[in-house]
């Protein structure tokens, strides 16, 4: 198979991040999945290199096989096929709090350099809390996953207005103020953010400062283009590299098998 046949040259940024999200997941790990892109990425990982992934959905399902079609909600019927435990929200979050969940895998609307996420409101907090400039849906379970899963993987669109110096509101804790042991001092059980997978880059966190660090650039992006689209000062890994594009097979799976109706992955208009 030639290179040209193997890699896709027709994919959207959204398709790129779900592919990157899938590849980030290790086989046989317990992944607590948020709604939307994480569900697509987990399904893709299960269909490729990581059939042994054990998904956990906050509404209660543990370890289902996602063979009934892509769930449209983390609580819908499609999350339950052949599940190995099926209680409710309390049980799912208690499993995470106890330590059963290796990764929390969540989306986000806004992020800061310490991996904190905002999905609650835009405006001054607490002054404008009761009448925000823009109101977002709220925490849902993302803040609980970010708190209690052993590590957190975040998947989101990379735009300057979303990668912010200061968030209006911290919904899901990352490394908080970035001070040493800030999470532990706050009483959080999990170790915090591991990767941020975006439409432009793969990012990690510097161990010493807990600040976000560019690890790889997505096809078509450069260190500069990522920097330009980030609203805070980004650390750059010394071994920053170009990320491998999606394969034709990955794209086929996303488009034809996983989200054929385009619920989460918008159809590319050619």
């Amino acid at each position: 198979m030639s290179f040209i046949d193997y890699y896709s040259d027709d994919f959207s940024p959204q398709e790129m991040i779900v592919v990157a999200g899938a590849r980030t997941l290790q086989d046989n790990k317990v992944i607590f999945a948020g709604t939307g892109l994480p569900m697509v990425a987990i399904t893709l990982a299960q269909l490729t290199h990581a059939p042994g992934i054990i998904p956990v959905f906050e509404a209660g399902a543990v370890g289902p096989r996602l063979t009934r079609g892509l769930p449209l909600s983390v609580g819908d019927s499609r999350t339950t096929s052949k599940a190995m435990y099926l209680q409710g929200l309390n049980s799912a979050f208690e499993l995470a709090q106890r330590g059963f969940c290796d990764y929390g895998f969540i989306g986000g609307a806004e992020i800061d350099m310490y991996g904190n996420l905002n999905s609650t409101m835009i405006g001054d907090f607490p002054a404008d809390y009761q009448k925000p400039k823009v109101r977002l849906p709220g925490s849902g379970g993302a803040s609980d996953m970010a708190s209690s899963c052993q590590r957190t993987i975040i998947i989101m669109v990379h735009e300057k207005r979303r990668f912010k110096e200061k968030l209006s509101y911290v919904t899901s804790p990352g490394f908080l103020d970035g001070s040493p042991d800030a999470r532990k001092k706050a009483g959080l059980a999990g170790k915090g953010p591991y990767r941020v997978i975006t439409t432009r880059a793969i990012l990690g966190f510097d161990q010493a400062t807990r600040r976000m660090k560019l690890l790889a650039t997505m096809p078509g992006e450069t260190v500069e283009s990522v920097r330009d689209n980030t609203g805070f000062e980004l650390l750059i890994d010394e071994n920053v590299y170009q990320y491998e594009p999606p394969t034709n097979e990955e794209i086929r799976l996303v488009r034809d098998e996983i989200d054929p109706e385009g619920y989460f992955i918008k159809k590319r208009i050619k």
Binding site: S77, G140, V170
Partner: protein, 346 residues
């Protein structure tokens, strides 16, 4: 601290004095709502996002009209959305005063336009929690304890805008959040199966339904079908809500429509989008589609049966088929008809 709904002491006293006998609790939607809902109540909304939302009960509440409600839920879409629309069309008839909640949107169907409208115009009081927080608050209520410890989301702004307290654990010395019990005055729950006494058997994820039922002052259950008591007690390990936590049982097929009800019907994508679009138009200044929606589907019908009468048969058939076909695929279909199974070979 202030309590909304019942305080732990009030909740205990009310339940201790209640008649907990095993008796026939069947009634109709209008009677159940008339008997157990009041203006100013804290209403616990069961289900999760758009799955098993108590839509039939909420429509009935809108038809009868209740004001100044506090809504308590973890994640919800259709339930509060319908109440929000009713409020925005006529707040002298129906209104929400306050929310204690974690998430209000529709997941893959999009954000909630009416929630944005209400909040960005400062029309309702907000108390944000996480999903776990709200679920744990109902659980504390169900367990009869005034609070429960929770490790998330410590350090976040969520915990600065609500009534949780952070304490040093007296055993480990590390911080832990305490979330206060939630005891709504009335819980609204839709389930697949109940018997005439109120014992409920759920299919699929339980969400926080058992906890809300046991935490609340009164619990109204709607069910897809009433099953024989003898059938229910043949499998005691499958009963998720015991009869004495339920005050009224109403058989309402399609009681969670247009949402998903596990084993019965999947989302009605089309209808949800129609409703959301009407809300979106409202937010952008055009109230006509929303008014039409309410007139047609809620106010000009007397109950859920008449509401469902107005949905095309083909749409109902479709959502049943995709729900049941999926089940068939999992368990019974020959391998060649199944989707590729991404589970391990076992």
């Amino acid at each position: 601290m202030y309590w909304t709904g019942l305080s732990p002491d009030q909740a205990r006293e009310m339940l201790a004095e209640k008649d907990k006998s095993k008796r026939d609790k069947r009634t109709d939607l209008a009677s159940a709502v008339r008997k157990f809902v009041r203006d100013g109540y804290n209403v616990g909304i069961a289900g999760f996002v758009n799955s098993r939302q108590p839509v039939a009960l909420i429509h009935q509440i809108i038809r009868q009209g209740f004001k100044e409600l506090t809504l308590s839920f973890q994640s919800a879409g259709l339930g509060p959305e319908y109440l929000a629309g009713a409020m925005l069309l006529d707040d002298s008839r129906c209104s929400i005063k306050r929310l204690e909640f974690a998430y209000w949107a529709h997941e893959s169907f999009g954000i909630s336009p009416l929630f944005r409208h209400l909040t960005e115009n400062g029309l309702i009081e907000l108390e944000d929690w996480s999903n776990f927080n709200m679920s744990a608050r109902f659980k504390a209520g169900a367990m009869g304890i005034p609070f429960i410890p929770c490790r998330s989301p410590l350090g976040s702004d969520v915990m600065r805008a609500n009534r949780s307290q952070v304490m040093q654990c007296p055993f480990t010395g590390t911080p832990v959040a305490l979330v206060p019990a939630s005891h709504p005055q009335v819980a609204l729950i839709h389930v697949q199966e109940a018997d005439i006494y109120g014992n409920c058997r759920l299919q699929g994820p339980l969400f926080t339904c058992p906890e809300i039922a046991m935490a609340s002052g009164h619990t109204i259950v709607t069910c897809e079908r009433i099953v024989e008591h003898e059938e229910m007690v043949r499998e005691p390990n499958r009963i998720n809500i015991p009869f004495f936590a339920v005050d009224a049982v109403v058989e309402v097929p399609f009681g969670a429509y247009p949402g998903n009800c596990h084993s019965h019907y999947y989302f009605d994508d089309k209808h949800i989008r129609e409703f959301r679009a009407a809300g979106e138009a409202f937010r952008k200044g055009d109230s006509a589609p929303l008014k039409e929606y309410y007139d047609r589907y809620i106010l000009q019908v007397v109950d859920t049966e008449e509401f469902i009468d107005r949905i095309p048969y083909s749409q109902l058939k479709h959502i049943q088929k995709i729900e049941l076909r999926d089940f068939m695929l999992i368990q019974d279909a020959p391998p060649e008809l199944q989707r590729a199974d991404n589970g391990r070979d076992d």
